[in-house]
Each structure stands twice: as structure tokens, then as C-alpha cells.
């Protein structure tokens, strides 16, 4: 049996390999020709170490559970490690041998790393008495790593009630644990409000009662509580977001410093003196404080306090400007002042000053100082991490060495959009618009527009030549940009030239990727260069996304760029009703609106209004309909009978379909048409519901499939069909007390709520990825029994006759039950995301794009997951071109479209058509971003990129030359003959 399988396996593998070779695969010289990858690490959480020797690097820990080493020179990655799930608690460099110690997953993993190469030195684990496997993701812990690196101090809030706290000291060498006694703590305090000042002091700040509690670990472990008013600090109104700030470097271990951040209003520096708190100084308007050793100009090496001030004038300026965004960005001025910590004298000679260009507010999250000793002269660099995830390094003289946009490591969703027409094409469009007028005016319009075209052409030439004469104006900082084009260093700035070149190309390959990130920052990325064209940070969006983190956030494309002179418009709607509308080409925020209700479901209308704008239908939690913009009301009113919306509730498995046939200006309520409760697991928190529709406006090229006997099998093309998958656990079946999980899949008509097909996979778990297009559904899950990933494929057919070829109605075709082909396949590795390719007219073959945990993106022809693949192939099957059924799907390395540009933790892939039927654009995002184009049926509509123009031209020239030569020779011959 085994042998037989193997034989079949080999045979089919050969066949498959041959098939794939034909269809896919790049040439080696095409590397980086159409694709780009940018690697990120995430927003900075721990600044761990700096090494300013031979090749200066810094080591960072981030919110994405990444430990990374970055070159100080250009901001590119040296190495990067992604940790397992669980919080990244602490990281610190050992003083003696320079190893980096990290604590993550609440102490389940304590690792020591070589900072230079990124190799692991040793690995430990805190004993089970402190942390158990179940507490992996909990937030009961605070950690502190001693500067010597031999001990870890841990504070654990006992989960029974948050009122009890215990301290542990873990020593690496002996693996010993010292426990303190359990202390009582105020009820309101959680680990978030507390921090270790150093190994001896633990401080908590109660934001509500404005009290500081501290405990000294050296002697009797007991909390002392002080009110902030004890320091003479009075707050007017409600104080918000006070934050504890601790320092890694302390001038005196016995009497350490810490600070309280007054949420942008300034900092209060406090010090322990003889085990008592003492207010040292209040720094109003100071954004950040940092302590680092300094060699002052007029005294020996000492510790200095660095403080960051951003100029209030520029901030005011910024508020004004953000209302009417211009192409030229505003300058944000920053100042770094240094105080000697002994006599509180400011050292003016070391003062730093720099400016940052940005059109949105810059809120600094943290600042770090990297001291440099260059030829005996003390200098330093300023590393700044902002709240919107950008990280940049500046010198005190104001030169920004590099800037990383780490927000791109946490993209929520993305869209690939067409660029607008060039000025020249736009004027042609304009003349075509006036077709309703009489012939004479049309003629005049035509002539005038052509004159305008000529004029624009000449002005363009003149402008270009002017630019060529004075290139310095445009590429003011181009040299910095060029250094790090390979990675992420794409600077924010987009010069006027770039904006002007953002026009549509002939084949629609030059597009713009619009992304929304978790931090409320929006980006526009050029697909050709991979550079950031624009970026906008919106604080309202940030707060909305932070309070109600969505799993997925759609970008609604309300109007594309196809409707000149109307500009394109994209809109996002957050869960708590924030509507943000922006121009995807310029990044300008056009409208911001807050609905005072929770959003239940959103939908883009199919019909456009007279400005070609598609409205967004928002269903709030009371089933009231809101439309954005309000004016699209009439559109919905006109077509209200054809609109339906589905709402799924994850916890209960309740599906509801709503209709709008009673919708009017007075009655804005949607009425329920049907409802359905699908079985989920008992412990409702575990279940996961997913609803997948077909793509909005998908083109289906062929209505049926031609079989081997030349008859046609018609596809069941129900546009209202939705796929509902539920991941749950089954309480009734269990083995060894372990509950089995299951996955169910339903095909439901969204208009009527009728179930067309359902299937269950027992002992299977998610994540489930569904690809739903035309008449097929492909989904993947993990089979726990066989311990393998499986891909299941469904195809729906009407049969050999078609009921109504011109239109489909869910209401009138109740009688038809499609017949369904269903087949399972084994996928020999895991899946982190799965989508299908998309082309303009749907003529080109469909391929699946599957992101693998190993970092590759596999392009798999959909023919491999065809459920009609026969086990015993006949002549007819061969005629039809079906591949014989083999359970295991291949992963040929030729099908990996990102070759050795591996991607870490891919979150999603999006695809978009280009104007060429053969080509599909692909953008994958996760910790890295990757863009490329794929041609599922090869590039049949344009010449190949390796087409040898020179050879063809050369051959033609030679042919012409030879014919003239032979003419001359022939003439000479006849002449010679004549003279004989």
C-alpha cells in the first residue's frame, strides 16, 4: 500500500512539477524588478543596548515581541528575533559581557543573547512556583533585570484578587528563588500602574486617588502611601494619564531617581533619599526625561539629565496647518537640554536642536540618548520613538540620520488603488464628457481641448527642463533617501516631483497602496518604488482603534480615480462610529465625523449618486440606518428593495438578515427578514464565526465548464451566497477530559437565509481561511486527528442546463438546488493566510496565494484543488485537462513568489487587478510588507520583459542591408556580363 502510494505520488509529482514549471517562476535576473520587501520590527518598547564600536548598532525590544539589532548608521536591520506569544516583559544588557537578557511570556522564557550576532547564549525559565504555563498571556507581572545581569526581580499580583502582591528574586547561577512575604496593595492598582525603580524599590502610582505607594525590598516589605499633594502638586480639573517613568541608568543605586509624566504638561523628578521620597525638581512643558552618563565641557564624566522640549510656537502652527493640508510639510522643532545632576547647571555647549517635517502632530512616546566618543570628543545621538510608531535618530546638530515607520508592522488593512489620469489624458476625458451638445460646440470643444493639450505638453517640457537645470531644489535630501531604499527607511517627505509623477501608466501597473495601521496612522505607498508617498496620523482614529480594537477594518473605496474631475475618496468606519474620509492619492483628510452609537455592520452601496460616489450604509446597534454621506439617502431609497445586510454574532452563533424595504426618511430602521442560530461551542468565548462573501463586483468570464464530451456544466453563480464558518469546541465528545474542537461550514443565501450546503469537520481547529470566488469555495483548517493542515474545495454547479442566463434572483430560484462537488486535500505545511488572484476580466486562470509559516508565499494553480480531480482518470477527464487526484498538494520551490525574501508572520494578503488581463498585483503584510505582481497564465498580452528589441532590430537592419547589397552585386554582375 505504501509503495503504491509512493509510486503514484512520484508520478503525479513529476507531472505537477512539469505543470508548474510551465506556468510560474521568475528568472534570476528579475529579482527585485517588480517586487519590494520592507522589514519592520514594531513600535519600540524597550531600548536595550547600544554598541558604538566597529559597526555601531542598537538593540531594541518592541511591542510586536521582537528583539532586533539595528545599524546606527542607516537604520537597517542587523538581526531580528520574533518571540512566541505572551508579553515581552523586560530586556536589559548585562554590564560585564554585553549580553542581552530578555524576559518574555511572563518569565517562561528568560534568554541571554549575544548582542553582536544575535545568537542565543543560554536559556532559562522561572520556576513553576512563580509562573505556570497557564499564566503565559496574563498581565499579573512586573519584571526587573539587575544591571549585573545575574538576577531577576519579579512582582506578581495574585490573581485571586489584585490586592495581594509578592516579590521574587531569581538568581541564574543557582536557579534559586527568594520569596518575599505577601503584601496587601490598594485595590485600584494593577501591574500597569507599577514599576521597579531599581532592584530595591517598587513604586505604584494610583491615577484616580493621585497617590504614590512605594515599597523597599531590602528590609521590611511594606507599602508606604503618599499623596501627590505632599509634594505640593495640585491638579486643576481631572488629571489624566499620569505615567511613571523609570530610568535604566542611575547615578546612585541607593538613592535612585524616577519621574512622573504629567501627560505632556511636564515631568516631576522624584528621588529616594534615605528610603524616603523627595521631590527634586518640576520640569514644566518637558516632553521626555532621560538619564545618561555625560562628559561635560567643564567637568569630568558625570551623569546628566537630558530633557526634550518641543517648541510651543511650532505646535500652534501645526494645529492651524492640519486643517488645510498642503504639500509642503510643517516643521516641528525639538530641543534637547542637558543638566548636570549635581548642581543643576545646564550645559549649553551640548544642547541639541533638530526639526522634523510632518503634516500631522508628533507625539513623542520615548526618547533615548546614545553617547558617542568620537576622537576624544563627547557627542551623542537622540533616538526618538513617537506614538504613531515612527522611530528616528537625530544628531544634536539637527541632522536626522534615518527614520523608520514601524507603524507598517501593524497594518490593519490595505487597498491597492488606481492612480489618477495625467493632465493630458484628463483633458481628453473632459471633451468626451460634453457629448450631449450640438456638433458645432463639440467641434469647438475638441479644437480648444487639443490646443490645451498642446499647451500642457509644452509647459511640461519647459518644467522638466527647468528641473533638470536646478535639481538641487527637488532632491534636497535625496542623498539620505538613497542610502536606505532597500529597507524601510523611506522618508516621510514626498517632494513635488514625486506627487506629479503619480499618474496612471499605460498598463495600470503603477498604483498606490493605501493602508490603515493600528496606531491610527494612514499610509500611501507607491507600488513601483515602495516609497511612502504620504502618511497621516490622526489622534481621534488612534484613540478609537485603541479603545475598540477591531479584528479587521475595511477601507471603503467610495469613489475611484476613474471619475474625473471628481477626486477619489476612501473612508474608514470604526466600531465606535468614527468616520474618517480621505483622499487616497494625496492623503488629505477630507471629512471626520463621529456617530454617537456603536456600529453593528457596514456596507458599501453598489449604486452611485450623481457625483459617482458610493454611499456607506451603517447599521448601528439599534438597527438604525445611517448613511455616509447623508446625501446618498436617495440612492438607497430608490433601490431599497434590492439591499440586504447580514449581521453575525460570534458568541451565540446568531445570524440575522435585514432588509430595507420599509426604509424612508422618517423610518430609518432596518427590518429583520430572517434569522438563524447556528450551533457553536458551549463556552462561547472560544468560538469564532467568519462570514465570507464574494468580492464586490467580481467578473465571471465563463458561465460554465466544457466537459470532455463537449457538453457544458453550468456554474451556480449566486452573488448572494455567503460562506459561514464556525470554529468551536464540542462538549459532548471528549477524550481524556480534552474537549474536541470542530469546524462547521455553511453555504447560505444571504437574501433568504436558506442553507444551501453544510458540512462539519470533527476534531479540527482553526484558523480557517476561506477563498470564495465564482462558483467555488476553498478553505483550510487543521485536522487534529491526523495532525495536518487540510484544504477543502467545493464547487457548485447548476447542471447541464441553465435556468436563466441573464440574471440571478435569490427569491425566484428557491427551487434550484445546486449540486456540489467536494474534495479534501492535504497541505504539507501550515497556512498563515490564503487568497486568490484577481484579474480585470476574469479570463486568466485563478491561482491561490498561500502564505506559509516558513516565510514564503506559494502560488498554487487552482486546478490542483479542483474537486473534480478524478481518482481513476478516464479519456474524458484527460480531454478536459483534469489532473488525477492525489491527496497531497505539492509545494514546489518554483512556486514561491517571494523567493528568498522571507516574510515573518504574514497577517493578510490583498490582490488587485492591473489594466493588463494577465497580471495581478499582490501585497502581503504582517511584520514585513511585500509587494509583487503575478501572472497566473503567463504574460500573454504584452511582450515579455526579456524580449530582445536589439536582436529584432538588428536582424531587420541586416536583412535590409543585405538586400541592398545583393541588389548592388546583381547590378554589377549584369554589367560585367554585358562587357564580356
Amino acid at each position: 500500500m505504501v509503495k503504491k502510494w509512493k509510486a503514484i505520488d512520484k508520478l503525479s509529482f513529476l507531472l505537477i512539477a512539469a505543470l508548474i514549471k510551465v506556468s510560474l517562476c521568475l528568472y534570476e535576473d528579475q529579482v527585485s524588478k517588480w517586487d519590494f520587501r520592507q522589514s519592520f520590527v514594531g513600535r519600540l518598547k524597550h531600548f536595550v543596548a547600544y554598541d558604538t564600536h566597529s559597526t555601531p548598532t542598537i538593540v531594541l525590544g518592541t511591542e510586536k515581541q521582537v528583539l532586533a539589532s539595528i545599524y546606527l548608521k542607516n537604520g537597517s536591520l542587523n538581526w531580528r528575533h520574533v518571540f512566541e506569544c505572551g508579553p515581552f516583559n523586560a530586556a536589559r544588557v548585562e554590564k560585564e559581557d554585553g549580553n542581552v537578557i530578555t524576559v518574555n511570556a511572563n518569565g517562561l522564557y528568560v534568554r541571554s543573547w549575544n548582542a553582536k550576532s544575535g545568537s542565543l547564549v543560554s536559556e532559562y525559565r522561572l520556576p513553576e512556583s512563580i509562573v505556570t504555563e497557564n499564566e503565559r498571556n496574563s498581565d499579573y507581572f512586573n519584571f526587573y533585570i539587575k544591571e549585573k545581569g545575574n538576577e531577576i526581580v519579579c512582582a506578581k499580583f495574585h490573581q485571586s484578587s489584585n490586592r495581594k502582591l509578592q516579590f521574587y528574586v531569581y538568581t541564574f547561577k543557582s536557579q534559586n528563588v527568594k520569596e518575599s512575604k505577601i503584601v496587601a496593595i490598594s485595590k485600584q492598582l494593577s501591574p500597569k500602574d507599577c514599576a521597579f525603580v531599581n532592584e530595591n524599590y517598587f513604586v505604584c502610582l494610583d491615577v484616580n486617588s493621585l497617590e504614590i505607594s512605594y515599597v523597599s525590598l531590602n528590609d521590611d516589605v511594606k507599602f508606604t502611601t503618599l499623596s501627590l499633594s505632599y509634594f505640593g502638586l495640585q491638579s486643576s480639573g481631572v488629571p489624566e494619564n499620569l505615567k511613571l517613568v523609570t530610568f535604566n541608568h542611575q547615578p546612585d543605586v541607593e538613592n535612585p531617581y524616577f519621574a512622573i509624566d504629567l501627560n505632556g504638561d511636564g515631568h516631576v523628578l522624584i528621588r529616594f533619599e534615605n528610603k524616603e521620597l523627595k521631590l527634586v525638581k518640576i520640569f514644566p512643558k518637558v516632553k521626555q526625561l532621560y538619564i545618561e552618563s555625560v562628559s561635560f565641557t567643564n567637568s569630568e564624566s558625570k551623569y546628566g539629565l537630558f530633557m526634550l522640549i518641543s517648541k510651543p510656537e511650532s505646535l500652534k502652527n501645526d494645529v492651524d496647518e492640519s486643517a488645510n493640508v498642503k504639500v509642503n510639510k510643517d516643521l516641528h522643532q525639538f530641543k534637547v537640554a542637558i543638566f548636570d545632576m549635581e548642581n543643576w547647571q545646564e550645559d549649553k555647549a551640548l544642547m541639541g536642536h533638530f526639526t522634523v517635517k510632518s503634516n500631522s502632530p508628533i507625539i513623542v512616546n520615548s526618547m533615548f540618548i546614545i553617547p558617542l566618543l568620537q576622537s576624544q570628543k563627547y557627542s551623542y545621538k537622540i533616538l526618538i520613538s513617537t506614538i504613531d510608531g515612527s522611530l528616528f535618530l537625530s544628531s544634536p546638530q539637527g541632522r536626522i540620520s534615518w527614520r523608520r515607520e514601524e507603524a507598517l508592522a501593524s497594518i490593519l488593512s490595505a487597498e491597492i488603488l488606481d492612480l489618477p489620469l495625467s493632465e493630458l489624458d484628463a483633458t481628453i476625458e473632459q471633451t468626451l464628457g460634453f457629448s450631449s451638445e450640438n456638433i458645432l460646440t463639440q467641434f469647438l470643444n475638441r479644437v480648444s481641448s487639443q490646443i490645451i493639450q498642446l499647451q500642457t505638453y509644452f509647459t511640461k517640457i519647459i518644467a522638466d527642463s527647468m528641473e533638470a537645470i536646478s535639481p538641487s531644489i527637488v532632491n534636497e535630501r535625496g542623498d539620505e533617501n538613497d542610502e536606505n531604499t532597500d529597507f524601510d527607511g523611506s522618508d516621510l517627505q514626498s517632494s513635488g516631483k514625486e506627487l506629479r509623477t503619480l499618474v496612471r501608466d499605460k498598463f495600470g501597473l503603477h498604483k498606490i497602496i493605501v493602508t490603515v495601521t493600528e496606531f491610527g496612522k494612514l499610509f500611501g505607498i507607491d507600488t513601483l518604488s515602495g516609497k511612502i508617498v504620504w502618511s497621516v496620523f490622526d489622534t481621534d482614529l488612534r484613540n478609537s482603534l485603541r479603545l475598540n480594537p477591531p479584528k479587521k477594518l475595511s477601507i471603503f473605496v467610495q469613489r475611484t480615480t476613474a471619475h474625473f474631475p471628481y477626486s477619489a475618496k476612501c473612508t474608514i468606519v470604526s466600531k465606535d462610529g468614527l468616520i474618517l474620509s480621505f483622499n487616497p492619492i494625496t492623503g488629505q483628510i477630507e471629512d471626520k465625523k463621529q456617530l454617537n452609537t456603536q456600529v453593528k455592520q457596514t456596507m458599501l452601496l453598489y449604486h452611485v449618486d450623481n457625483t459617482y460616489l458610493k454611499g456607506i450604509l451603517i447599521l448601528d446597534k439599534d438597527n438604525f440606518v445611517h448613511l455616509y454621506p447623508e446625501t446618498t439617502n436617495q440612492v438607497l431609497n430608490k433601490h431599497k428593495d434590492t439591499y440586504f445586510i447580514v449581521v453575525g454574532e460570534e458568541k451565540t452563533g446568531l445570524l440575522e438578515g435585514y432588509g430595507f424595504n420599509a426604509f424612508s426618511d422618517e423610518n430609518r430602521k432596518a427590518n429583520r427578514v430572517w434569522s438563524l442560530t447556528l450551533p457553536t461551542s458551549e463556552s462561547s468565548s472560544k468560538s469564532r464565526l467568519q462570514i465570507v462573501f464574494k468580492r464586490h463586483g467580481e467578473h465571471v468570464h465563463s458561465q460554465g465548464r466544457v466537459l470532455g464530451d463537449r457538453s457544458v456544466l453550468y456554474k451556480y453563480l449566486n452573488p448572494n451566497l455567503m460562506v459561514v464558518t464556525i470554529e468551536g469546541t464540542d462538549p459532548t465528545i471528549s477524550e481524556f477530559g480534552k474537549k474536541f474542537s470542530f469546524i462547521t461550514l455553511y453555504l447560505i443565501d444571504a437574501v433568504t437565509g436558506s442553507i444551501i450546503y453544510s458540512t462539519i469537520h470533527k476534531r479540527s481547529k482553526g484558523p480557517v481561511f476561506v477563498v470564495h470566488s465564482e462558483n467555488s469555495v476553498v478553505y483550510s483548517y487543521y485536522n487534529e486527528k491526523s495532525r495536518r493542515t487540510e484544504i477543502s474545495s467545493l464547487e457548485l454547479y447548476e447542471g447541464k442546463t441553465q435556468v436563466n442566463a441573464t440574471s440571478f434572483s435569490s427569491l425566484h430560484r428557491q427551487v434550484i438546488r445546486p449540486f456540489i462537488e467536494h474534495q479534501n486535500f492535504i497541505f504539507p505545511t501550515g497556512i498563515s493566510s490564503m487568497v486568490d488572484t484577481l484579474t480585470e476580466k476574469g479570463i486568466t486562470n485563478k491561482h491561490l496565494l498561500i502564505a506559509l509559516p516558513s516565510g514564503g508565499i506559494l502560488e498554487l494553480p487552482k486546478a490542483f484543488v479542483d474537486p473534480r480531480r478524478p481518482i481513476n482518470p478516464t479519456m474524458e477527464h484527460r480531454e478536459e485537462g483534469l489532473i488525477p487526484y492525489v491527496p497531497e498538494l505539492p509545494i514546489p520551490s518554483e512556486g514561491i513568489i517571494n523567493y528568498n525574501k522571507s516574510l515573518v508572520s504574514v497577517r493578510d494578503i490583498i490582490t488587485a487587478p492591473s489594466s493588463l488581463e494577465s497580471t495581478c498585483l499582490v501585497f502581503a503584510f504582517g511584520l514585513d510588507i511585500f509587494y509583487t505582481r503575478v501572472t497566473p497564465s503567463k504574460t500573454f498580452d504584452i511582450l515579455k520583459d526579456d524580449f530582445d528589441h536589439w536582436l529584432i532590430a538588428g536582424v531587420l537592419l541586416i536583412l535590409v542591408g543585405l538586400s541592398y547589397l545583393s541588389k548592388w552585386l546583381a547590378a554589377r554582375k549584369t554589367l560585367n556580363n554585358a562587357w564580356k
Binding site: 528568472y27 538581526w79 544575535g118 536559556e123 509559516p853 523567493y899
Partner: protein, 240 residues
């Protein structure tokens, strides 16, 4: 008889395997004080070693940075030490799939089973017959199976390819016949020439190919005159 022998062999194998494993466990429990967190400390540990394509004892920096060890498709990770060894700790009893990924080289994944007593067994991954056991050595050893072939090889233009193209051959042969053969005949001795003349070929019934070509290229009027010239020439030749 043979069946018994096989059974015996199998038994021996099992025993020896157990012995090896027992040794490993012993080593672990002895060295538990040093680095390896033992099973008593909550969770088990999978150990292994990754080697490079060149077999260096010290991994090059590039290799270290780009190799990842992924367990169960990203549930756990392993990290390489300088010498290429790794440990995956905090594992509960169960079955784990250990994959080593490198962007340029392929490593075969290994399935590792940990039973409730903490015994560890490594076996080959078989997706079709999931229960088949093909034991592999433990601690795990990962060797690169070879580089990935991501790219197609581009066809290069070669002169020989061009020349041996059947179309080109079809063009060249008639050309040879046209150009070389008449010359060979011309070069022959006057006797054959005379013979040729004696054959009394009907001379002017068919227009000569070369003349047709010349007339085609040189154009109407001049060709006529040249033809006439040629005719005269031949006529005079005859007279001679």
C-alpha cells in the same frame, strides 16, 4: 523462521533505542543544574542541532540571522546558539512538528512526540499515513537537503543554436545549391562544357532565376536593356 528472526531483530532494535534514550535522560537529569531546565521544572524540552551546508562548527553570522526554528507552525520558536544547537522548552506532552527554515536551503521537518512520562521520540513526517513511525535520531539533527531552486534558467542566445535551427538549415541548403553547384560545374574542364553545349538544351524557354531576381531588384527599364545586352552577349558568344 524468518518472521521470528525479524521479530528478534526488531526487539533488539527497540531495546537499543530505549537504552540510548535512557542515557539521554540520564545526561539531562545530571546536567539539569547547568542550563537545561529539566522536566521537573514544568514542561519538556526538545533539543537539536542545525548544520550548515558547509558543515562549519561555528555558524556564520548570516546563517544565524536568517534561520528560524518553528514548532507547530509558529506556536513555539527555537533559537540558535553559536554552534547551531537549539532548545525548545516549556512543552507539554504531545506531538510537535519541528521545522527549520532558511531562505536559501531546504531542511526536512521532523515530528517529535513527547509522552506523558517525558520520553521523547523523533520520527519522519508522513502526512498520508500519519501513524507510521520511521524513527530518527534524537537529539534532532537538521542537515540542509540542498538549495532551493526559486528561479528558471534563462535561455541564452548561442550561434550554434541558431545555425542548427531547422528553419535556418532549410534556408542555407538551397543557397548552397544555388551558389556553389554552378561554380563547381563551371570549374570543370572544357570537355564537359562542350558536352553541356552539345546537349542542346532549349535555352530561352525558361527565364533564368538570377535574371529574374536582378530584374526584380533593379527595376523595369534598366533591366530590359541589361537583358538585351545579355542576350546579345550570348549570341555573340555563340557565333564565336
Amino acid at each position: 523462521m524468518t518472521a521470528i528472526r525479524y521479530a528478534l531483530l526488531w526487539f533488539l532494535l527497540l531495546v537499543s533505542n530505549n537504552a540510548i534514550r535512557a542515557q539521554n535522560v540520564d545526561i539531562e537529569s545530571n546536567g539539569g543544574n547547568n542550563h537545561t531546565p529539566s522536566a521537573a521544572n514544568g514542561g519538556h524540552t526538545i533539543e537539536g542541532k542545525v548544520s550548515t551546508s558547509t558543515g562549519d562548527s561555528n555558524m556564520p553570522q548570516q546563517w544565524l540571522a536568517s534561520t528560524r526554528i518553528i514548532v507547530n507552525y509558529g506556536e513555539y520558536f527555537g533559537f540558535l546558539k553559536r554552534d547551531g544547537s537549539f532548545e525548545i522548552s516549556n512543552l507539554q506532552p504531545g506531538s510537535y512538528l519541528v521545522e527549520v527554515t532558511h531562505p536559501d536551503y531546504f531542511y526536512e521537518p521532523i515530528r517529535v512526540d513527547i509522552n506523558s512520562k517525558g520520553k521523547i521520540r523523533a520520527r519522519k513526517v508522513n502526512y498520508i499515513q500519519t501513524s507510521s513511525v520511521q524513527q530518527l535520531p534524537y537529539p534532532l539533527k537538521f542537515k540542509p537537503k540542498g538549495p532551493f531552486k526559486y528561479f528558471q534558467i534563462r535561455e541564452t542566445w548561442k550561434l550554434t543554436d541558431f545555425l542548427f535551427n531547422p528553419m535556418v538549415l532549410m534556408m542555407i541548403l538551397p543557397l548552397l545549391l544555388l551558389l556553389v553547384l554552378p561554380k563547381m560545374i563551371n570549374a570543370a574542364d572544357p570537355e564537359t562544357q562542350r558536352e553541356m553545349q552539345n546537349m542542346q538544351m532549349p535555352k530561352y524557354d525558361m527565364p533564368e532565376l538570377s535574371e529574374m531576381m536582378t530584374s526584380f531588384f533593379t527595376g523595369g527599364s534598366s533591366s530590359k536593356s541589361s537583358q538585351q545586352l545579355a542576350l546579345k552577349n550570348k549570341a555573340s558568344k555563340k557565333k564565336q
